[in-house]
Amino acid sequence: MNSRMFQFSFKSLLGIAMMLVLFSGNMKAEDGAKLFKQNCAVCHASHTDQKLTGPGLKGVFDRIPPGDWVKRWILNNEKMIKGGDPYASKIFSENGKAAMTVFEGQIDDKGVDAIIAFLKGPAPVVVLPGKPVGGTGNEGEEVKPGIEPLYFVLGSIVLLAIFITTFRSVRTSLQNSANRTEGKPENPDMTFFEEARHWISGHRRLVGVLCIVVGFMGMKSCWDACYDIGVYYDWKTQKGYHPDQPIKFSHKIHAGENEIACQYCHNTVEKSRHAGIPSVNVCMNCHKGIQEGPTTGKTEIAKIYAAAGFNPTTQKYDVSKTNPLSWLKVHNLPDHVYFNHSQHVVVGKIECAKCHGDVKAMTTVEQKAPLTMRWCVDCHRTTEVAMAGNAYYDRLHKALKEKYKGQYDVKFTVDKIGGLECGKCHY
């Protein structure tokens, strides 16, 4: 945990540092990057030759007519083509006569300047967005990794062993010399284990009590461990489960770099118990245009087309050739648990990342939370219910305020309203 915290913080520090270096004093280009992502990235690659729907924009300013041509083109390319601008007509026909969106009225002059500044600037470094989990507000400080408890225990054991052997030999020799001076016979040369057995036989009661104590502690830890058992991935929980999906879909590219909101694809998260795996038609909203990806090229996106029965060259769908995608479910709950996404997202106002981790940085989605009952319960014990402004809770809020009247620092956490009751999740 500690090391992971450190990792996140380190990455974010690195990112922030880079951002500062890149964009200090160039706020325009930063805005431009954002605008470009929102408006242009669907059809244009900003700093490569890669052709999406529109041409890649690497070196675009060397190709096009100088002056404000580019600005006019961005704002209203239709007018220019109709107006008979030669270069405009040329690129229109070069790109399969696919019209570009008219941005007049959507982006103002300043925005266009910013986009141009962004395009003229260096290629952006992929920056991990979002706050690091657990590292809020500590960007300036170096987070030291703690010593792993395992090493600590091992070290202690080694130390103890050294102490025992040293003291034992010292004691034996001292006692032997004492015996010698007193004329008693020397103690028989016992091995460590013989001696231990000898000691045990002399302290039966103590050893018995110790055994019982240790036995109970063992049972307790077994019991505790039971709470963590999950049948899925590692021996304890399925944490870290990251199966290879039928399509190498990267959340890093979609949610991270392109900043597509989680709810765009997982669009039932606010309505239903399921967040929803997007249907293929949702993919096709963008991928009808974006036919090539930055890492895998056409191969992976072609799988979407195969699923949707889409022919990218003719841009036509064939309903008879559809083929559903079988994604592998990463976050699995047993059947006897009822979990509702909308409850947590809409009512509880919980961020997706709280349970799913920094999905924006994941190429392959990995289960970050253990999804054990302990994990659920722990969160219910510490999370406050968002009662303010929700009229449903008015009566309850009043009753709780009355109940805990005079008590300082009482938080109305989920467990206080019955969030730990069996029948709330198991029925």
């Binding site: 239903s272 479910k329 029925y427």
Partner: protein, 1106 residues
């Protein structure tokens, strides 16, 4: 103590022979064949030792165990194109119509991810008002019945639709075709039939109802000149008289009538009035069980009762009397008739007499009585008549004769199964064989389909478009809630009956378009609310129902077609004009209802002839009355395991039909007169006119002496119907034809005892309350309720403490816990509850309650979360024992025996969610605990199955999963969860429980959580009534109320603040969350002994002083 004796295993040990000594060293007398087992022939070479064997064993065990630890891979397969209205995990609701040729109900269908999982009542309906019945609730399972046909069948083998169409088309080309259906209430289907008969002029449409109401039509024809079935308004009736008419359970439109009836029985402090219900019958029906006064008469006496009542009413209203025998075997009943007539006349215009017998004479007299009582247009209405049960028995009888004479070349049966249901005397099966081409539209391979040449399976009603006009002025739409389950490419597929008929009639359009066109032309013009058809259609489809103020006849005529052969459905702009035109043109042919009546002269009914007809039946020593059961009805849903397992509301017997006889008769015949799970019942043979069946005998209190009851719907004879095949006997054979109507009673029966025995499986074998009325089943007469103190009939439970007697609420062993948010409560009005068991099926459907089968029920291992306890009254009471000095033992023995004609009480019983729950304190693993909303929660995944909780439950509502019902092969044939299709009906929000865990009513926790979540998401307080439990929603009589007791304005708080509220076994101090309202009976006899109460009062008074 040391052993001085020594034992030898044999002489060789005693003598210590060398062979023995050698053998003594080895553990086994002979070497075990382990090596052989492991290695076979190579034993010598490898020399596998026992250790190796164990190693191999250990390795394989470990390997298996490790393999089990592998990550199970779950897949998530999203839609290619997600339908806009589907949100995975969120239910969609569609309004639709349930009509199976027998019952009608307007329903809402709950679908999850595109599959229907639950049926609920549609509250927009002015007919059923959101009510449902057990059969309506269970109908969703029929959709997933494995016995359904997956495509057309030609000569016993699956074929293509083209082949089937060709085969039928060829046959239709020549000869006489007859379409035999049960009553069609769909106006557009009638038009489709008209299209068909227009194409084939030799084709004829005959209506046949398995359970016939032909006499109702005939009687209305006799009295009012209109061959219709009247509609009834029980809600306006103050005095109701039923003569063998189970209108709450099975007669005509029971869902509608139960709802109306209950409205007259909502007794409260503010309105302490209720209807009074008299009932005459032979079998103890559900309606008879709910009557205030019930008289046992034989079926042959029904006519005499009606004639006597007619004469009494005529005497009081100045009408002329009829002649005829009116002497009854039951003197008490005979005496009562005068009194009943007096009350009827007192409530002139607010009374209702109904009779169930399918006898023209009886029904004509009943019409006469209602007419004299001025009830027409008030409680009974032939103008706004019902469209149900239009069959004319004579047409069917003539048809069978024609078939036998070879005059019918094609017979097409839809929504009926005459081979199974026709009276034996008609010899339908023989006549059917003589038909050249037999076509069936049945969705299953039933008895008729088995004999048919071509089976063209219809869609299930949940897959179909359709409409209904159940009553004049009331329309409802039916819409598909799932794609056809059996469809291409996997199957040839089913096809809706109407589509098939349209195809055969050569109409190009499909039925959906046709239906819309029909509605645009004939229904849309009748309403004035919507101006364009598109929004009219959308809204009506959403609501499911439409009520028009002025009802016009919906014509069953061919529709105009355009050049392409499609029915003309004019554009929105011209819709009204065209529609009006079409109505105008049709008015020439079919004039509106009212005018018909006004135009035609009223016939003069001959009541004397009717009386002669009604009273002419001579009864024998034993008479048979065939009846419908609440569960199976006419048997069209008998392959439904939910209905098969549903305990009969009266007898509580499951998976069986049986001969019901009066216990006294059973005893006289020397048969077993007890019902217990460990005693075998007797079996007897009954014979009527040469037809005989052998069935077990059930001693039924309340059965008129000298009568025998036998239920319809059982004894199915088709291997395809896995659930129903061979269960019980078929009683349809006993229907007989007299006066050209199908009769359900046989006046002369011989019954002979056999030596065989039969094991009944009943969910309740104890009959009476054993004198514990005050603790469990509180009742009061209306008179006492109005005049006496609540202390008399609903006293607070007192408990003895060292300070004297105090109310139990003041003494508490346990701490009280706060319920800061909601405090759920459930209250059951026992006056309203009629015991119809709709809630039982609804609960099973909602909560995935397992079907366990006859054998397990016989071991008292039924899984019902909600049961309805039925109690009979006994002649013995504690007061009587005291007064007559009857000993304690004798009193208790007598208390066990129900009266010959008992009063019946129904008490729905589910987990009482005790606030000081005895089950919770004994669970060793805290698998059952209490929520801060007052519910007792059961956590299956924690339960280890000690069953301590069930032992400690005072209400015996906990159910233990003895088997893995959803996987164990013993239950494979009938447990829906085990079938590929059947498991589709499971509610995905509720866990399917496994073996070894306890389960019980959760008060629909899934609905509570969902309802609360909706409120939380909306950021608004929970609205009272927005959460309803499955049982509450299903209840046709609104007898169940659920809500938040913390909310002072909630409906349940109002119920509980009334003076009838009490909780069961209050003296235990378990503080149940469920409460009951005292049952009020509209009877003159006092139920409570006032003297005794006064004594109590004095005692208490003294104690207080002391």
């Amino acid at each position: 103590m040391s052993m001085s004796k020594k034992y030898w295993r044999g002489l060789s040990e005693l003598n210590e022979s060398p062979e023995f000594l050698k053998q003594h060293q080895s553990e086994f007398a002979e070497p075990l064949p382990i090596d052989e087992f492991l290695n076979g022939e190579e034993e010598e070479k490898s020399g596998t030792s026992r250790r190796d064997f164990l190693k191999v064993m250990g390795f394989s065990t470990a390997a298996v165990a490790l393999a089990a630890c592998e990550t199970p891979v779950n897949k998530a397969i999203p839609y290619i194109v997600k339908p806009e209205e589907v949100t995975p995990g969120v239910a969609n609701w569609y309004a639709s119509t349930f009509y199976d040729g027998h019952d009608y109900a307007s329903v809402l269908v709950k679908t999850r991810e595109g599959r229907p999982v639950k049926i609920e009542g549609n509250e927009f309906s002015k007919i059923t008002n959101g009510a449902t019945s057990a059969r309506v609730q269970a109908s969703v399972l029929g959709l997933y019945d494995g016995a359904r046909l997956a495509g057309p069948v030609l000569k016993g083998a699956y074929t293509t639709w083209k082949n089937a169409d060709d085969a039928v088309g060829k046959a239709l080309g020549s000869g006489n075709a007859v379409l035999l259906t049960s009553t069609v209430i769909s106006p557009s289907t009638k038009a489709v039939v008209a299209e068909f008969t227009a194409k084939y002029p030799n084709a004829k449409h005959v209506t046949y109802d398995a359970v016939s109401y032909s006499a109702l039509n005939a009687a209305n024809k006799n009295v009012f000149g209109k061959s219709v079935v009247s509609s009834y308004n029980f809600n306006k009736a103050k005095t109701i008289v039923g003569i063998a008419c189970d209108f709450l359970g099975t007669w005509l439109s029971p869902v509608e009538f139960a709802n109306q009836y209950s409205k007259t029985r909502k007794v409260s402090k503010e309105n302490p009035e209720m209807s009074k219900h008299y009932h005459f019958e032979a079998n103890l029906s559900l309606t008879g069980a709910n009557a205030d006064y019930r008289y046992m008469v034989k079926p042959s006496e029904y006519g005499k009762v009606v004639a006597a009542l007619y004469n009494e009413v005529a005497g009081a209203t100045g009408g002329s009397k009829v002649s005829g025998e009116t002497k009854l075997g039951n003197a008490e009943a005979e005496k009562a008739i005068a009194k009943i007539a007096k009350e009827l006349v007192e409530n002139k215009g607010n009374s209702l007499v109904v009779a169930g017998a399918n006898d023209e004479g009886i029904q004509t007299l009943v019409n006469g009585i209602n007419k004299m009582l001025d009830n027409y247009g008030k409680t009974v209405d032939y103008v706004n008549h019902s469209n149900l049960k239009q069959a004319n028995d004579k047409a069917f009888i003539d048809l069978v004769a024609d078939m036998g004479a070879g005059k019918v070349s094609v017979l097409m049966t839809h929504n009926c199964n005459p081979v199974y249901t026709a009276p034996a005397s008609l010899k339908f099966a023989d006549a059917y064989k003589k038909v050249a081409t037999k076509v069936s539209f049945s969705i299953q391979m039933d008895e008729t389909s088995q004999m048919a040449d071509v089976v063209c399976p219809d869609n299930h009603y949940l897959e179909s478009w359709g409409d209904a006009n159940p009553k004049a002025g009331h329309f409802s739409l039916q819409q598909p809630t799932i794609n056809q389950i059996f469809s291409a490419p996997r199957y040839e597929g089913t096809r809706q009956f109407q589509d098939t008929l349209l195809a055969w009639a050569g109409v190009k359009s499909n039925y959906y378009t046709y239906l819309q066109a029909y509605w645009q032309n004939h229904v849309f013009p009748q309403q004035g609310k919507y101006l364009d058809f598109a929004s009219f259609w959308a809204h009506t489809l959403h609501d499911g129902v439409l009520k028009v103020n002025v009802a016009k006849e919906t014509p069953a005529v061919v529709m105009a077609k355009d050049s392409a052969g499609m029915p003309i459905m004019s554009g929105i702009a011209t819709a009204i004009a065209e529609a009006m035109d079409s109505v105008k043109t049709e008015e020439v042919k079919t004039t509106p209802v009212k005018e018909t009546v006004a135009a035609e002269a009223m016939p003069t009914p001959d009541y004397n002839k009717a009386a002669a007809m009604a009273t002419s039946v001579k009864g024998g020593a034993f008479e048979l009355a065939v009846y419908e059961k609440i569960g199976l009805g006419n048997g069209n849903q008998s392959n439904n395991p939910w209905l098969m397992e549903l305990p009969d509301p009266i007898s509580k017997v499951t998976w069986d039909n049986y001969i019901t006889m009066a216990p006294a008769d059973v005893k006289t015949m020397g048969m077993n007169e007890m019902l217990r799970q460990d005693i075998m019942g007797s079996i007897a043979t009954i014979t009527v006119n040469g037809v005989s069946v052998t069935a077990p005998v059930y001693p039924q209190p309340g059965q008129a002496p000298g009568t025998i009851g036998l239920a319809l719907g059982y004894g199915r004879n088709s291997k395809a119907l896995k659930v129903a095949n061979g269960i019980g006997v078929n009683a349809f054979g006993f229907l007989n034809v007299s006066n050209e109507t199908i009769q359900f009673a046989s006046p002369s029966v011989t019954i002979t005892k056999t030596d065989d025995t039969h094991k009944f499986s009943a969910t309740q074998v104890q009959h009476t309350i054993m004198g514990r009325e005050e603790a469990i089943l509180r009742e009061v007469s209306l008179n006492e309720y109005k005049t006496k103190d609540q202390e008399v009939w609903n006293p607070a439970t007192l408990i003895q403490t060292h300070d004297g007697k105090v109310p139990i609420a003041e003494v508490d062993l346990w701490d009280d816990y706060a319920r800061p948010n909601h405090k759920w409560g459930l209250t059951i009005d026992m006056t309203s509850c009629i015991g119809c068991a709709a809630c039982v099926v609804a609960c099973s459907a909602e909560n995935n309650v397992a079907v366990v089968g006859k054998k397990e029920i016989g071991r008292t291992r039924d899984m019902y979360w909600l049961r309805i306890d039925r109690y009979y009254s006994s002649d013995m009471t504690k007061d009587k024992a005291e007064a007559e000095h009857i000993g304690y033992k004798q009193m208790n023995l007598d208390l066990e025996t129900p009266s010959n004609n008992p009063k019946v009480s129904f008490q729905p019983m589910m987990c009482q969610h005790c606030n000081h729950a005895p089950c919770e304190t004994v669970c060793p693993v805290l698998a059952t605990s209490h929520s801060n909303e007052g519910l007792n929660m059961m956590t299956y995944n924690r339960c280890i199955g000690t069953r301590y909780c069930a032992n400690n439950c005072p209400f015996k509502v906990r159910r233990f999963n003895w088997f893995n019902y959803n996987a164990n092969e013993w239950f494979a044939d009938f447990n829906p969860a085990q079938q590929e299709l059947g498991r589709m009906v499971l509610n995905p929000d509720v866990v399917v429980r496994s073996r070894g865990v306890m389960e019980k009513c959760s008060m629909c926790a899934q609905r509570l959580q969902a309802g609360k979540l909706e409120a939380k998401k909306a950021g608004a307080p929970l609205v009272d009534g927005s959460i309803r439990t499955a049982c509450q929603q299903a209840c046709p009589t609104n007898a169940i109320m659920f809500g938040d007791v913390n909310d002072e304005n909630s409906e349940i708080s109002k119920w509980r603040n009334g003076n009838r509220n009490y909780v069961m076994l209050e003296d235990l101090g378990v503080k149940p969350t469920v409460s009951y309202l005292v049952k009020v009976r509209n009877q003159e006899e006092a139920i409570h002994n006032e003297e005794k109460h006064e004594e109590h009062k004095e005692e208490k008074h003294e104690e207080k002083h002391a």
